[in-house]
Structure formats: structure tokens, C-alpha cells
């Protein structure tokens, strides 16, 4: 397939920009895609008209939008869909190849993420019910109704959900898919190397019968992103701790940052630690360790050295392989410099006292590897002597985790913010404390990998509560 041209979508209207940037295949000079870039002022103009897009969705029945979403999931997974401007079609396999060419992700991971995304579409009713605590969807059509015998009314907080997407993780598109069924148009700014997934999801929605006005796609530069962040009614963005800090007091903005997800084993289960190695390895390495829900710190009361060695041995089996190798689990870096920077940060931490790279003994070669023109970082498990060691609570874009020993009684005071915590224990008193811990966003009790989440519960914020506000109301009979 020739490099397709990904245009701007302005409430569904195709706009081919005169500002075109080429994204090359990783490790080569061959163009993978041409991308139309939008200027910042154009986005400002379009944002002012998003009410029209919202009106289109508002006029549709929520139940119809739910059906459309379900159909779109099947289409996303199975159908050939338009790509670019010249009438070309993209098969599901073409999608895998295109995304692999620019993101560095192995085909197997892309297929896994594809399946996960397909699942989001399919579970939309469950997600809707979960996030609204069982609200009758018809309330969104009428604006008011009853829930649990009490009158309820919800109004949209915004005419659009803007999402500043990253380049490294197609699965994050899961976060915005339910917005369409919630009658809120989306305005997406794709990552430079990953226009493929949002484009394909949009095409799937369109084929399923969603109104084109509900979809805006703006590849753009920094100033365009700035306009989206400053002006959109609701914004999701992905960033590091400094980005989170910058917007933490802005109710319009939901920042998805580092997760610092953790895996805890209680006193009552620690002597059976071998039973949990499979789960631990999955938690650290799933999706090439790129997700905020991947475990980055393992906290145990004892057996830290044995657990670290057992995990290191397993993690060292994950190696850079050809992207089309069905066993490939490790992703290359779309931006080759990232691998070097991250490797330097890990090495710096190891040079400080109190940290040992346990994987070094088991893996082949150095952590930093090059293959097929791409940079890779091999999985790394670090045994640290305390929470104060600088690698104890760190999160990187590759399979990386630390193992730290800590008495169970002190764990919850030490772990800090954690997007996901899996706690392996049957200790009821501790379980109560875990449920009560304010630092934990999502809690798994028992042998559950941190990377397995259910979308019918809030993930870094409740999408429905982000997009809707409950208002009080009374309706008197007209005299």
C-alpha cells in the first residue's frame, strides 16, 4: 500500500492541509504516511462551532448510539475501511502493519490492543451502566428521569471531549470511545506516529452509522495542542508528572499521567510467593510495560531477593524479536532517543547505592539493544534496599520494576499514589485498610494482574461524570 494521506477531519469534513508532514517507517526512509497538519487558529474557529456537532448527537437516541457503538466494534475488528484520500481501503491486517511501521510495536501487541479496543465497543452498555451507576440511558435523551426512585437530571458539561493522544499506546483510545454513546462529540489530536488507531475507530463508527459531525481529528503542532487544551470544554491528555501538576486544579482537564501501579503481597501469602510469579511477570511486562497500569513497584515483607531473581529470569526471556514474530512481546521506540534517555536514567539510578539490576545476570547483552533499525530496552528488574532508593518508585516506557521489602504494616504509608494496586492477601483487616487508602485509585484483591482492568468502573476519573453534571430540577404543572 502506498503511504496514505491522513487528512484533518473538521466535524467529519475532510480537509487536506497545505502543511503536510511525512512519517517514515521506523528504521528506514520510506514514507509510511503523509499527514495533514492543522493550524492553531483553524482549531479555534472549529471549536466555536462544536455545538452543531453536539446537536447532531443529541438529536439521536442513546440506545441507537449504543447499537452503533457495538456495530462499530465489529467493523473495527473485521472490516476493510477507507484510509487516506484516494479511495484506498485498509484491512485489519493493513492496520496492524501500518501501526507497526511507525510505532515500533510488535504485531502481536497490536493485535492484543486491537482486541482490547474491540472489547470496549462491545461492552458499551456495561460501561455505560457502570459509569452512571445504572442510569436509564433514556435520561440522556430527555434530560431528566428517575434513578433508584429519585428524580435525576444530567446536562452535558461540554460540546466536545478533546483528547491529546500519545504515540506509544493505541489502547488509550479506549478512553474516548464511550463518549459517542454519551452524545458528546470527540476532537482528537493524534500522536505524530500514531494516526492509525483514531482514524480507524472513526471510520468504523461512520460505517456503523454515527454522524460524521461527531468526529474531529487534528494532527497539529504544539500551538494547536495548546489551543485545544486551553479552549476545549473537556480535555483528556497524557503526560508526565509535570503535566499532571500543571493542570491538577483545572476541572476541564483530566491528565492521564504515570500510574506508579504496584503489586503488594501480604504477610499471610508471602511464603507462597512462587504462586504469584506468573501474575507478577504479566503485570510488569504486558503491553511491553508501556501502560500506566503495568506494575512498576513490587512490595513484599520478605523473600525480596528470591522474588527478584525468579522474576528476572522470566523477564530476561522477553527479547527484541522481529516485529512480525508471533512471540514478540517487546516494543521498539518510535522516537529512538527515548530509549537512550531512559537507559541513562536507569543507569544513573543503579550507580547510586542500594540498587542492583537483577536481570543483568540473566539477559543476553546490554539493556539497550538495536534491531532492524530500532532501539529497544530489554526488561529490567531492580532490587532496591528501600523506598528511598531513586529507582524504587519509577515508571518507564518498557518492562521495568523494582522489588522492595517493607513490613506489611508500613506498606500503605510508603507506596504513595498508585493508579492500580494488586494486594495478594486474605487478611480482612488489611483488606479494609487497603479499601480505605486514599492513594489507591483502583484496587485488586487477590491474584489479579494490575494490567487487567474492567472498563465499567472509573479509570483515572469517571468519563460520565467528566462529561455530565447533575442538576436539581422540579417541574410544576402549567397553570
Amino acid at each position: 500500500m502506498n503511504a496514505p494521506h491522513i487528512p484533518i477531519l473538521r466535524q467529519g469534513r475532510v480537509h487536506k492541509s497545505l502543511d503536510v508532514q511525512v512519517v517514515n517507517r521506523l528504521g528506514g526512509k520510506e514514507a509510511a504516511a503523509e499527514i495533514s497538519f492543522a493550524c492553531a487558529d483553524m482549531i479555534k474557529y472549529d471549536l466555536a462551532k462544536m455545538g452543531e456537532a453536539r446537536a447532531k448527537l443529541k438529536a439521536m437516541k442513546a440506545t441507537d448510539l449504543i447499537e452503533i457503538t457495538k456495530r462499530a466494534g465489529e467493523i473495527f475488528l473485521n472490516d476493510d475501511l477507507p484510509i487516506g484520500l484516494d479511495g484506498a481501503m485498509q484491512s485489519p491486517e493493513d492496520y496492524v502493519l501500518s501501526l507497526a511501521a511507525t510505532s515500533g510495536l510488535p504485531h502481536s501487541l497490536i493485535r492484543m490492543n486491537m482486541k482490547r479496543l474491540g472489547g470496549i465497543f462491545g461492552q458499551i452498555e456495561d460501561i455505560f451502566r457502570g459509569l452512571t451507576r445504572g442510569l436509564d440511558v433514556a435520561v440522556l435523551d430527555q434530560g431528566y428521569g428517575e434513578q433508584g426512585g429519585a428524580p435525576v437530571s444530567f446536562s452535558a458539561t461540554t460540546n466536545e471531549l478533546a483528547v491529546i493522544l500519545p504515540s506509544n499506546s493505541p489502547a488509550v483510545n479506549a478512553l474516548w470511545i464511550p463518549a459517542i454513546a454519551m452524545k458528546v462529540p470527540v476532537l482528537l489530536k493524534p500522536g505524530r506516529e500514531e494516526p492509525w488507531t483514531p482514524w480507524r475507530i472513526i471510520q468504523a463508527f461512520l460505517k456503523a452509522g454515527a454522524p460524521s459531525e461527531a468526529f474531529s481529528l487534528y494532527p497539529t503542532q504544539h500551538d494547536g495542542s495548546g489551543v485545544i487544551i486551553r479552549r476545549a470544554g473537556r480535555v483528556m491528555l497524557f503526560g508526565d508528572d509535570s503535566t499532571v501538576k500543571q493542570y491538577e486544579n483545572d476541572p476541564r482537564i483530566e491528565v492521564h499521567g504515570t500510574g506508579y501501579s504496584k503489586f503488594l503481597i501480604g504477610e499471610d501469602e508471602i511464603d507462597h510467593w512462587e504462586k504469584y510469579i506468573d501474575t507478577l511477570v504479566e503485570s510488569v511486562s504486558a503491553n511491553s510495560g508501556r501502560s500506566c497500569i503495568c506494575t512498576s513497584t513490587i512490595v513484599v515483607p520478605r523473600h525480596g531477593d528470591e522474588i527478584a531473581r525468579a522474576m528476572a529470569k522470566r523477564l530476561a526471556e522477553i527479547k527484541p524479536l522481529a516485529q512480525d514474530d508471533p512471540d514478540a512481546k517487546l516494543s521498539g521506540f518510535a522516537n529512538p532517543m527515548f530509549a537512550e534517555w531512559i537507559n541513562e536514567a536507569v543507569e544513573k539510578g543503579l550507580k547510586a547505592d542500594g540498587a542492583v539490576d537483577v536481570t543483568a545476570e540473566f539477559r543476553e547483552g546490554e539493556r539497550f539493544q538495536q534491531r532492524d533499525g530500532m532501539n529497544y530496552l530489554q526488561p529490567t528488574l531492580v532490587r532496591v534496599d528501600s523506598f528511598d532508593q531513586e529507582l524504587a518508585i519509577r515508571e518507564f516506557l518498557f518492562p521495568f520494576a523494582s522489588v522492595v521489602e517493607c513490613p506489611q504494616a508500613e506498606m500503605l504509608d510508603k507506596i504513595g499514589y498508585s493508579l492500580v494496586v494488586t494486594a495478594v492477601t486474605k487478611d480482612i483487616e488489611w483488606i479494609h485498610r487497603l479499601f480505605d487508602c486514599p492513594h489507591i485509585d483502583r484496587l485488586n484483591i487477590g491474584n489479579v494482574p494490575t494490567n487487567r482492568i474492567q472498563w465499567n468502573q472509573p479509570h483515572e476519573g469517571n468519563l460520565f461524570e467528566f462529561l455530565y453534571t447533575r442538576r436539581s430540577f422540579q417541574i410544576a404543572e402549567v397553570a
Partner: protein
């Protein structure tokens, strides 16, 4: 005029300016002292524009560090001068003295304007930095020269730069809204057909009202670099393809380089500017070896030479880069295309703040 005739005209202008600026009777103290220290006489050595490379690059710091009186040609001695400022976010700004140049420049520019879109007798509004800038007097003169009057809405780009530097984007937007409120009120309630503003402010006005719908037919714009996509957006969406967008490239030190607004669409909205030769000349140079002119179609740094009786400025390196473009039938000398900040692809530049 043919390209050969344009070159002959420019060479003649160069000889005239050498004679003017390096003669005791007419030259200014700055250049007369420079000649003594340099040990050569430009009147003897610089006979054509190609010889201008014998001069070193003019340093704009001289416009800040030297007293303004040292730039007053002896021929103008005793005549009070206008002081025009350029740049200057902090500290003493760079200043240029002048008398009639801005009138000459803008009268020359007026002849390039299309009367259909900039009707004679029509009133103007200028929305942009006034204060100590040449532009403020120049636009009013342009309006008056064409038989109209000019309304003004001021803004202070130095303040906006400071606000942006400290990442107070909300404050910058509030300031812009404050400027816009004033502009929109005047456009709504006065009979105005022509506007001068910057691209960003134009887009900002267009967010609030239909510019063409309020009677504006022509928009003369300058101030920042514009990508072809942005130019298209301004012409087709902001001005709704009803008013004519006329991009210009210029500053206090040069005057105005003009473009070919009627040909923009056919040229894919890539803007090429032509200097007001022979009063000013633009050359696209190799940034590493600035005596070398880049080939047509290549990006290089913009070098400006100003050749007026009031002001001589050889080989000033602008903070921009552009593509060297071929002469046009209407302007038979080199053009500069797709101007962007010098080093735009390598460094961070705060540009186009108003």
C-alpha cells in the same frame, strides 16, 4: 521593466547612495567615521550591488548603542527627526531616525494596492502595535494618501512577549480579547473598508465578527511568518474569500516587501515577497558563508540592504530564513518565499505574539 533594467537601476542607486552617505556634505557621522576606520572609500570600491559584499554585516545593536544623532545625515542636519523603534522586550530598544522615508515607502506601496479591494477614499483601521513604531504613522499616511482616514487600536507586543515567556497563556488571551473588543466595536460602528493588522489578530477578529460582512474589502497584513496553510485559512475562512488578503514582509529598517495577492491561490498560497527595489534589497544567503547567494528554490537566511538617503544599512541579517524565488514580470528582481523564523526547525522562537 526587464530584469536587466532593474539591475541597472539598482546599480545606479548603489552608486548614488555611496556618493551620498560617504561624502562629508551629505553623509552621517556614523558612516563617515566608519569609512575612516575601515581605510577604504566605498565611493571608489562599491560601484554595483554585487560590490555590497565588501561591507561587513550591519549590526542592529549599533541602533541601540550609538546615539541617534550619529545617524543623521549632514544633509538633514538641524531638521528634527522621527524616532522609530524596533524590537525591545527589555532594556533600551533599537531606534531608527527618519524624516520622509515612511511616506515614500507607503506611497510606493499604495500604487501596488488593488483599488477594487482598497477603494480610494475608503477608511482604514489599524489593529496592531502603535506607540513608537513607524507603522503607526505609515498606515495613517497610507490611508490619507489614498483619500481616507485611519482608526487605530493599539496593542503592546513587548508586554505580550513577557506574558508568554512566563507561560501565562490565559493572561495573553485576556489581553488579546481586550484588544479585540476595541477593534470589533470600531469595525461594527464606523464605515471602514480597509484594515491593517497582523495575521493572528486578523484571525482573532474573524472569530468574533464576519470581517467581510462588516464592509471590509481589503486586508493588508504583516508581522509574522505564515505557512501556506495559514495563508489559505486567512483568505478562505477568516476573510471568507470575499475580502482580499495582502501579505507583506517588512520592518522599520526596510519598508515594505510586497506580494502578489491575486496569484496566491494559483501558487498554492505560498507567499513570495519582493523588496521595494531599489530603495531596499533582499538577498537569500548561505547562513554559514553569507557572501554566497543561495540558488533559486533553496532556503537561506534573509539579508537586507537599505539604500535610502535617510538611512544606509548594508547587509543586515534578518532573523528570518526564506526560499530564494525567481523574479516576477511585475517585480523583475529576486523574491523571498515562505519566510519563517531563522532556525525555526532547530530552536524555539517566540514569534507572532500579536
Amino acid at each position: 521593466m526587464t530584469a536587466d533594467e532593474a539591475k541597472a537601476q539598482l546599480d545606479e542607486r548603489v552608486r548614488e547612495m555611496m556618493a551620498w552617505h560617504f561624502s562629508e556634505e551629505t553623509g552621517c557621522p556614523f558612516w563617515l567615521d566608519w569609512k575612516k576606520q575601515a581605510g577604504w572609500d566605498p565611493r571608489e570600491e562599491v560601484k554595483t550591488y554585487d560590490d555590497i559584499v565588501q561591507f561587513p554585516h550591519f549590526q542592529d545593536e549599533w541602533l541601540r548603542d550609538e546615539k541617534n544623532e550619529r545617524f543623521v545625515p549632514n544633509a538633514y542636519k538641524g531638521r528634527p527627526f522621527n524616532v522609530f523603534e524596533t524590537g525591545g522586550t527589555t532594556g533600551l530598544p533599537k531606534q531608527r531616525v527618519g524624516w520622509e522615508d515612511y511616506k515614500h515607502d507607503y506611497e510606493q506601496f499604495s500604487h501596488q494596492l488593488d483599488d477594487e479591494f482598497f477603494p480610494k477614499g475608503g477608511n482604514w483601521i489599524m489593529v496592531g502595535p502603535t506607540g513608537p513604531r513607524r507603522l503607526r504613522l505609515a498606515i495613517e499616511h497610507l490611508a490619507n494618501f489614498r483619500g481616507g482616514s485611519c482608526y487605530h487600536v493599539d496593542c503592546d507586543p513587548r508586554w505580550v512577549k513577557k506574558v508568554i515567556a512566563r507561560k501565562a497563556y490565559d493572561e495573553a488571551e485576556r489581553y488579546q480579547a481586550h484588544v479585540m473588543e476595541q477593534a470589533v466595536e470600531i469595525i461594527k460602528h464606523r464605515d471602514i473598508q480597509c484594515i491593517f493588522t497582523t495575521p493572528r489578530l486578523l484571525a482573532s477578529i474573524g472569530e468574533r465578527i464576519s470581517i467581510a460582512g462588516h464592509g471590509i474589502k481589503g486586508c493588508f497584513c504583516g508581522g509574522t511568518s505564515m505557512t501556506p496553510e495559514y495563508v489559505r485559512f486567512l483568505q478562505e475562512e477568516v476573510l471568507e474569500d470575499k475580502a482580499l488578503f495582502v501579505p507583506t514582509y517588512g520592518n522599520t529598517l526596510m519598508g515594505l516587501a510586497v506580494s502578489l495577492p491575486r496569484e496566491l491561490k494559483a501558487n498554492g498560497y505560498s507567499v513570495t515577497y519582493y523588496a521595494p527595489q531599489p530603495r531596499a534589497v533582499l538577498r537569500i544567503v548561505d547562513p554559514e558563508k553569507t557572501e554566497i547567494t543561495k540558488d533559486y528554490g533553496e532556503y537561506g537566511r534573509v539579508e537586507l540592504t537599505t539604500l535610502s538617503h535617510e538611512f544606509f544599512m548594508p547587509r543586515f541579517l534578518e532573523r528570518d530564513e526564506a526560499i530564494r524565488r525567481k523574479p516576477h514580470g511585475k517585480y523583475p528582481w529576486d523574491g523571498v518565499g515562505d519566510v519563517r523564523p531563522f532556525g525555526a526547525l532547530t530552536g524555539k522562537v517566540i514569534e507572532g505574539v500579536y
